[in-house]
Symmetry: C2
Subunit: 500 residues, 2 copies
Amino acid sequence: MATRFIFLSFCLLFSSTLTISNAKIFPTFPSSRITPEKLSSLISNSKDSQGLYKTKYHTQILDHFNYNPQSYQTFQQRYLINDTHWGGSKNNAPIFVYTGNEGDIEWFAQNTGFMYDVAPKFKALLVFIEHRYYGKSIPYGGNKEIAYKNASTTGYLSSTQALADYASLIIDLKKNLTATDSPVVVFGVLAAWFRLKYPHVAIGALASSAPILNFDNIVSPYSFSNIITQDFRSVSENCYKVIKGSWKQIEETAKKPGGLEKLQKAFRICKSEKNLAIESWLSTAFVYTAMTDYPTPSNFLNPLPAFPVKEMCKAIDDPKTGNDVFAKLYGAASVYYNYSGTAKCFDLNGDSDPHGLSEWGWQACTEMIMLTGGDNKDSIFEESEEDYDARARYCKEAYGVDPRPNWITTEFGGHKIGLVLKRFASNIIFFNGLRDPWSGGGVLKNISKTVLALVEKEGAHHVDLRFSTKEDPQWLKDVRRREVEIVGKWISQYFQDLAQ
Amino acid sequence: MATRFIFLSFCLLFSSTLTISNAKIFPTFPSSRITPEKLSSLISNSKDSQGLYKTKYHTQILDHFNYNPQSYQTFQQRYLINDTHWGGSKNNAPIFVYTGNEGDIEWFAQNTGFMYDVAPKFKALLVFIEHRYYGKSIPYGGNKEIAYKNASTTGYLSSTQALADYASLIIDLKKNLTATDSPVVVFGVLAAWFRLKYPHVAIGALASSAPILNFDNIVSPYSFSNIITQDFRSVSENCYKVIKGSWKQIEETAKKPGGLEKLQKAFRICKSEKNLAIESWLSTAFVYTAMTDYPTPSNFLNPLPAFPVKEMCKAIDDPKTGNDVFAKLYGAASVYYNYSGTAKCFDLNGDSDPHGLSEWGWQACTEMIMLTGGDNKDSIFEESEEDYDARARYCKEAYGVDPRPNWITTEFGGHKIGLVLKRFASNIIFFNGLRDPWSGGGVLKNISKTVLALVEKEGAHHVDLRFSTKEDPQWLKDVRRREVEIVGKWISQYFQDLAQ
């Protein structure tokens, strides 16, 4: 099997899978990729966006850290706002800000119901800010063709610029609302970094599923696939073995005369193609299902049942399919790709979008060098080594950029994080669910009395931040109750300090 | 009198005085400006640079926060290193880093003897890193003509880029020395900001005379000149009155037929000029003498006696000069400009350097918007209001840039700093001497048990960091002893944490 690279976004949005085969590098796009059309249908299907927020725009500066003429260019940054429960500036009522991950902010707002659920209790204003270069927050007058054209125009897409955007926008918004003394709490994957860099803007951060240690070899490159392996193996040893054994079988089949046709038929692929990327199509399904292995039905990337890994393994373990491995895999993939049962066949490249690369792919080629591509001998995927050099060559070819693999730890730290933050920083919650493959790069131990790790064995990616439902298990209710308690303490303490 | 603007550097290096008269804006250069020639003579006159440090260069990236092709350009950043007393990497012996202010790093090393004095006690490696765009750390292959040519090439001169330079260099240096576990303590004006942004790189910061509250109207624009006023007034009420009354007299004299000649003669100005900038020449002397009102003889900007403000007032109060105000002022100015007694006449524009503007002047026109130009009715200078709009117009004209007056507080905070840092951050000493006009923008109260303000009534700018001398007064010895104690505690605690 070819070396497997998956450029996964923190938030499971926009991934681009890069397969290296016979020293040839070609990126492929898992069909789970969200296109604008699909996104808009997801949004309109889940909650009424009209009721959830009002859309606003903020004139943002292109480059906060330089003073060249081009740095003064501005763009319209989108943010969503909901003041239904806000206690108002006169009461210094809190402001809860979602510091947008790398994707469309509407989608995150729809999937961060926790903030809506707790707003009445805190009388909080809700603000969701979109990350630059995503969604509708596109520089160059919103023109994606220019913004993603080349490194000269995409170069301003970086995490430090995004954090500075959030700081500028929040300060400006508070000024406009005459709410300069309202405490701000930030939420999301980028929240911890924001609190660390802008403690004067946010009094605390709930960083959910933030893999801030997945850089610079702080954690093992095998951790990501080890967790996926464990997710499936814990449900069924047979399920794990079938998947693990399937890669060679797919590869061998593809090589045989008539093999591609056989695969096409077995997996109901609509179109015949020369390079049938079945392996990447399947591994995408396993990776994302592990990440979103929620205890209740969900509709984040795709509609999924509760405990979807269990459902996948049920399909694989189904005695009806006997020894037909492809039928078993097809059944498993259908849980992820076709739970609604409406698809008649699958279009492997149907959702591909040349601009995808210029979004998360760009970040994965510049600073977000998260080495999660290693598979040890027990991996559910085929054994392989992380190949940084291959990634670097690919990035040069695709974007004309050299990655800066040490930048994130230079700017944000990560090495010996306990030692550093024990004596510095406060008011951060790191939530991680251990079924989430990203949890391998998460902060899993309390660092101090105010830099806390909430770790939930049964949790998946971002699960704490989702809307509560009647079916939520007790552990999930407990996590959220604890988060509310802690955020409440930060706010009380702030008001005590303010009154002094 | 024209509205007075002085773009003063934190470190009293490179200032450019901007006078606005009849809506015409023309920058002038106080003759105290340090030219490369003068600097090299100052350095060679004070200590033997051969014994103090070895000079090294680090290949630094031009732009840390973007990924445009031009951001990947590199330049040679100079740093000075002294390992005489270093305990070595095997012992994780400490590294003391001077995060260079905006000026030639050799000069700072020469004037930061404190680090040399305490190195043996701590077995510390000493490193002095030069600020980008100053001294020999010039982008574009060291070519100042290109680097200072226009906003496109000078645009990368910003405080955030400089701090990222220090982080990158320190991490790289530690790696090369296999000293990744050696604790780093930072010193200098930029040290506090560095500790706040890079707590994973420096375990603590001694920020000497850092006016981090001189932004965004956090402190009064009158504070700067109020302190100068008080410095002179506390020595002699008559001295203050003579200076205060002189501005009108100079102005009126200049307007009269033959007046310029009279002034030229009174102040021994070498060349006759149309715009004789006597006022700015004199105020520069008063400002810088107040800043460097050290209790021992010094040779920082110019050779000066101990307590130079007292010496100036002695000249002004001298009964021999009777009622001759110009003779009195000439005597005072001579303390600053001609203490060695070698100058026969003064060349007001002799030291001017077109590149000066492109160094600190550039920063004062982009982000270092320190509004210190107000003079209330009691000011030793003529009453005037800070005029931000005039500065902005000047900056646009001189550099083609619009200042970003809120950027520093957006990036580094400052408003309600006690409230913020009380619950965040640790291991920072803010030293301020109250005779230093910059102390008005300093942190003057303890914020927490580990964010401490050391305030010394008799102290001037950076006095704690100077080489100790036999004549040092007890208060200065006490300040330094306290600093050593506190830094020692940080290091002990770090080693305790490391051992756990």
